[in-house]
């Protein structure tokens, strides 16, 4: 049972707070012979697996290191192009390390503003009148809970599908937000939240819930 992350989206759709809690690292390192039996392509400034899932290396995983040297974009530290390098037989055997691409802060901001219209369209396409936006969204690997306050701020929690009591947690986070972010005289509305007290309290809250469940908070 894990909570993966907490996000707060302001009324205008901007990400004002994000906290990664327990993001599992998916990493595999393996040595390969020529020719390479996974197909790699370059997209979104990353070298990713396009085809040929095997041994924990899945489609969509990004190449992070070659023989222990980190890869940035499509280049190694010394400026060599990774894809060109993998086409030459003399570089083999070679050790490649793949990992599931982690979200950068920019991507999180992008995703937060993407959730905003989804939330609105869900209520527009409703077959019943006077319907709210998305409250729970489930995929096979996680469940997302969203609580929108009367003032339009959204509290979003991404957790394991079996973790109970997350709808209550969104409200608890709202309480913390009201107590520690809004009452902070140095915090201006709609701006990213950088309040130490808020963060430490949130951290403790998440840890207690993971250890002893929602009933104790």
């Amino acid at each position: 049972m894990v909570i993966y992350g907490v996000y707060i989206v302001s009324k205008s759709g901007g990400l004002i707070f994000n906290h990664d809690h327990n993001i599992p690292r998916v990493e595999t390192e393996k040595s390969f012979n020529y020719p390479l039996d996974v197909k790699l392509t370059y997209e979104n400034k990353k070298v990713v697996v396009a085809f040929g899932q095997r041994d924990g290396i899945n489609v969509g995983h990004a190449l992070t290191a070659v023989n222990g040297n980190p890869v940035t974009g499509r280049e190694l530290e010394d400026g060599r192009d990774v894809l060109e390098m993998l086409e030459q037989p003399e570089n083999f055997p070679i050790t490649l390390k793949f990992s599931r691409a982690k979200m950068t802060t920019n991507e999180k901001i992008f995703l937060a503003s993407m959730f905003y219209p989804l939330f609105a369209i869900a209520s527009q396409l409703s077959p019943e009148p006077r319907c709210s936006g998305i409250e729970v969204l489930e995929a096979d690997t996680f469940r997302l809970y969203c609580y929108q306050t009367l003032t339009g701020v959204k509290f979003i929690i991404v957790a394991d599908p079996v973790q109970p009591g997350m709808d209550i947690l969104t409200k608890r986070v709202y309480e913390l937000y009201a107590d520690y972010a809004l009452k902070n005289p140095f915090y201006s509305l709609e701006m990213p939240i950088r309040c130490e007290l808020f963060e430490t309290n949130l951290q403790t809250l998440l840890e207690t819930i993971e250890k002893s469940g929602i009933s104790n908070v």
Binding site: P24, H61, E107, A122, P127, R130, E135, L137, A139
Partner: protein
């Protein structure tokens, strides 16, 4: 328990079939526009889910829930999308969607040489069978 409506989309976003049973709220736009809006939303949700997922997703998006209804989603490997709106009480609609695909769509559309794939389904028989399956399910 109620089932509100059903959308079937092809892999490139054409609305193949739409049917409604209990729908109180009209979206106020034409069916064509509504289908585009729905497909666009599902497409975005799919990419949203694959990015925000902490682990590698297999099936990806399953359903979302609002205060009044739940939207269930099933996508086949060939890209066919089944979307069913029900009330929040319905559990395990996935089985029903799979049934719809394997027992109705495959039987009366794919096995019907007069039905063009990727075009709206005109077959009367298909309509009847969908209606029968939904009306006889325990969720209706």
């Amino acid at each position: 328990m109620t089932i509100h409506n059903l959308y079937i989309f092809s892999r490139n976003g054409t609305l193949l079939y739409y049917s409604e049973w209990n729908r109180l709220n009209k979206s106020g736009i034409t069916m064509e526009e509504e289908a585009k809006l729905m497909y666009g939303m599902l497409f975005s949700i799919k990419s949203f889910v694959s990015k925000i997922s902490p682990l590698d997703p297999k099936e990806g998006f399953l359903y979302y829930k609002t205060s009044k209804y739940t939207l269930h989603y099933l996508e086949t490997p060939s890209g066919l999308k089944f979307v069913l709106n029900t009330d929040n009480g319905a559990q395990n609609i996935r089985g029903l969607l799979q049934q719809l695909y394997s027992q109705v769509y495959l039987e009366y559309v794919v096995k019907n040489p007069l039905c063009q794939l990727n075009e709206p389904i005109q077959s009367e028989l298909f309509k009847q069978k969908v209606d029968a399956l939904i009306k006889h399910s325990q969720y209706f």
